[in-house]
């Protein structure tokens, strides 16, 4: 059953013309991440690798392709968590770097802190020799177009952007049974400067515990925060629920209690996994044994042989 990798590319409403590219991008990133696990790499290495791939792909709301804040600038958040030690690293409102997930990992590995924000995160990046990239290199025509559209006075940013471009994330269990999670985002389109969503908040934007499992969510950030979705789902698993049932319980609660929609990828230490969502769509993919699983709409579950290169 091990290893396993489950990945999401955002929950919400992906326009049809972008759906295919979103799915294929996810599948190829998942193959790469799974290759890390098959080669004996750790769960942490795998989730960081797959999220890096997605950050580099302009299709997703993370790294390059991030949505723009109210000022038309990119501010990014990311988190990683290691289920073995509960070590975690996170960055919020970081600018001008290509891979926030890697910076989050550096926070975990190279500092005695769990979270760095804004200017401090940028300073740390420079101290670590992370290359600074110009802001415009992270901005795509699509994200600029969405931003301009949202400047219209009657636009509702939450509706307008829910998953049209998605937060990305992954969970994994490696051959040793260690779990990890990683999540990365450019936030909400046209949000206030300095807005921090669920992604870099431990227990919200991700959580990993070798004794229980790992979760990475996507969806309406403020709702995910209010119910501490990742921690909540793992709590249900501690109470004996399966990864799938626990995910559904958590998402249903979020919808009922605070009216928020979203999705999660979840895994337990034995390799049982789930990709569940209450939004219209969530681009997801999973790799286990010889099979690549993937889907987009509710109920979809396609499989491909992992040896088959499309």
């Amino acid at each position: 059953m091990l290893p396993v990798l489950v990945v999401h590319g955002g929950a919400g409403h992906i326009p049809d013309d972008r759906a295919e590219l979103a799915c294929s991008g996810l599948c190829s990133a998942t193959r790469v991440g799974y290759g890390v696990l098959q080669g004996g790499g750790s769960a942490m290495d795998a989730v960081v690798e797959v999220v890096t791939q997605l950050e580099n792909n302009p299709m997703y709301n993370a790294g390059c392709g991030s949505v723009l804040n109210a000022k038309g600038e990119v501010e990014m958040d990311a988190i990683v968590m290691d289920g073995k030690t509960l070590a975690s690293g996170a960055v919020s409102a970081v600018r001008n770097i290509a891979n926030p997930v890697q910076l989050a990992r550096l926070v975990m590995d190279k500092t005695s802190h769990v979270c760095l924000t804004a200017e401090g995160a940028g300073r740390f990046a420079r101290a670590m020799g992370v290359p600074e990239v110009p802001g415009h290199s992270l901005i795509t025509d699509y994200s600029r177009m969405r931003w301009e559209k949202n400047l219209a006075p009657d636009a509702n940013p939450v509706e307008c952007q829910m998953g049209k471009m998605g937060t990305v994330g992954a969970v994994a269990v490696d051959v040793e049974g260690n779990v990890a999670c990683a999540t990365s985002t450019g936030g909400i389109l046209n949000c206030m400067e300095g807005r921090v969503g669920d992604t870099p908040c431990i227990g919200c934007g991700g959580y990993a515990d070798n004794k229980v499992g790992a979760v990475s969510p996507t969806g309406h950030g403020e709702a995910i925060m209010k119910v501490t979705l990742s921690r909540l789902i793992l709590f249900h698993m501690e109470q004996g629920q399966s990864a799938e049932a626990a995910s559904d319980l958590g998402l249903a609660y979020m919808k009922e209690r605070v009216g928020g929609l979203g999705g999660v990828v979840t895994v337990d230490p034995r390799g049982h996994w789930a990709a569940r969502f209450t939004s219209r769509q969530m681009a997801w993919a999973a790799a286990q044994q010889d099979t690549l699983h993937h889907g987009l709409y509710t109920g979809e579950h396609f499989t491909q042989n992992l040896d088959h290169q499309p």
Binding site: L86, A93, A118, G194
Partner: protein
Amino acid sequence: MKAVVVVHGGAWAIPDEISKASVDGVKAAARDGFSVLRRGGSAVDAVESAVRAMEDNTVFDAGHGSVLNTDGEVELDAIIMDGRTLASGAVSSVRNIANPVSLARAVMEKTDHVMLTSRGANLFAKKIGMVTLPTDTLVTEYERNEWEKHKKYVTGVKELFNSQWGHDTVGAVAVDCSGNVACATSTGGIRNKMVGRVGDSPIIGSGGYADNRSGAVSCTGHGESILKVTLARLVLLHTEQDAVELSLRYMGDRVRGGGGAIAVSPSGEWAAKFTTERMAWAAVEHDVLWYGLDPNEKCKEQLSQ
């Protein structure tokens, strides 16, 4: 419905020189919060008021009296949460405002967001007319001297880390006459911390959590450990009587971190527990003020005193 307020002024080896001021400070804050509840104010009003009182008190590491980061500047974090709706507001790494808990409340009530950081948080503060104060107004001479001493000996966070030093974040929890619960937490962080370091205090589920269905919690102690176990959320996921103790013990066992937490249930039961050497805390229920500092200490005063 029983109205209760509990406050803490930090869990660490509070030195004797400031122990009286710390205990006086939490007692005053608890009285403050309770008077809000008594005149029909909400749990959210009460926790904001109690935390403001401690932010204004230079003996605590929040608002006035904050510690300095490695650049010799002040960066403040705070959170407030309404158990009725799960609405929450938080600020991290905001500079030079006297009452971060009130800014956090404004995030909750005046924006669509739950958290603002850094420059964005300061821009919002300015927009709503919150004044920025010079660092010297917020920081005590004692802190300035301590900071310089630490700088000289390159005593960074690694030493303060997980030791019994300087965890005097402040916080409050309350349940009001309508049975609504709320929490608030505020801090200046760890002395000499990296610029932009965010601890547990403004992170929902870690520094605080409030839910009418289970209760409200505010935490203090070693921030990174509190984060790793999402301590506030953990306390509320336990249904046992000694949820706070169990959770603190778990934090000690799993990630070797020390701290303290205050909690209140929707029906008015409350707890104030810690695994550090001391924690300044106070609680008011009915007309009785309870308070303590050392382990197992629980002193009592009539409110009319």
